[in-house]
Symmetry: C2
Subunit: 212 residues, 2 copies
């Protein structure tokens, strides 16, 4: 198995966590977003979307991190990332999607670059934009966790799964932009428990060989 | 089953298509986004995220349309929205996520309102923003479809599934903002085939009782 990622890409970090939780070995390839290596002809041949990450398994290249997380869970079922019943699965997926469909798409590097390049956002404007969507999304995450009645040691019950895998990298990004996170105590308690696990701790951005 | 949606919400349209494909009966509730009804205390009790759509099944309320689509497919398997094998499933989910994680989150009403309210984007600026992300996302969708070798009459093979369900509402929105779509012939051929099916045609925004 091969993973193409970038240390600071939170979608890449999701996959590093997932592969560690499943205990799967893989070869790492480092694709620099600031250098634009994700738009090189070679990378586009592998991933026509020109986005990170890409996972190669059995000679097939897969894009879109949520799709890859589901692929890993279906192909390597232990430990599972989702509960057994459709209702529980929907709740976990919905939490993951608050991060993957409501926060991260608005705050990733290509959006921030577009705001600053085309729309002349200053650094302060960019940070204000970033913090707006973190506050909006984390409020939704916290409210959904609180209402579910299923949050235990982790987002759903007592084992880390799809929602935790998406949450933790988003917290890292939020902290990088100095976003206040005190208003989300249930969410942050889950985050802290995740970080006590090796699969989340050892895969964090700063420990990656391409980190600077 | 009950569906809370809004005629012009493309995530709501995804669910109308899905329920029609599965042949499931449901009661409709209309929640006006322009009137802010999605932020009313009653709606927030049902969906703490304050987003559309919400599906209620067996007394449980579900949010996030992609999670709901998977829930419907797991709970009501025929006809399936995903292929049988993990590799095919990953490809279909990745296409759906180009729409749900790369295009729609940047162009939905709450983002456009934030751009115009807080950042004083003019109507022309807003439309330029909108068209930028449509062009970016549809180029990714077209390139991925072309590279997959699996596109047939629909996004993957000869039956409509998760990717088609996400694609069609996004085309409707793109047309509403007069986005040129000539550069995406494979994508648009799939769109046209979808629209020849009753499940896609009869559920379109303009036929909804809350349309204006």
């Amino acid at each position: 198995m091969e993973l193409y990622g970038y240390f600071r890409s939170s979608a890449s970090y999701r996959l590093r966590i997932a592969l560690a939780l499943k205990g799967l070995e893989y070869e790492s390839h480092y694709v620099s977003l600031p250098k634009g290596e994700h738009r090189s002809p070679d990378y586009l041949k592998l991933n026509p979307q020109g986005l990170l990450p890409t996972l190669v398994d059995d000679g097939v290249a897969y894009g879109q991190s949520l799709a890859i997380l589901e692929y890993l869970d279906e192909s390597y079922p232990e430990p599972p990332f989702l509960p057994d019943d459709p209702s529980g699965r929907a709740q976990v997926r919905a939490l993951a999607q608050i991060v993957a469909c409501e926060i991260h798409p608005l705050n990733n590097l290509r959006v921030l670059k577009y705001l600053q390049g085309t729309w002349k956002f200053s650094d302060a404007d960019r940070d204000s934009w970033y913090r707006h969507w973190i506050a909006d999304g984390f409020q939704k995450f916290e409210a959904t966790l609180a209402a579910s009645g299923e949050a235990g040691r982790f987002c759903f019950g007592d084992h880390p799964g799809l929602a935790d895998i998406c949450l933790v990298p988003q917290v890292f990004n939020a902290r990088r932009f100095d976003c206040p996170l005190d208003d989300y105590p249930t969410t942050m308690a889950v985050y802290e428990r995740c970080m006590s696990l090796e699969a989340f701790e050892t895969t964090q951005p700063k420990y990656q060989p391409d980190a600077f």
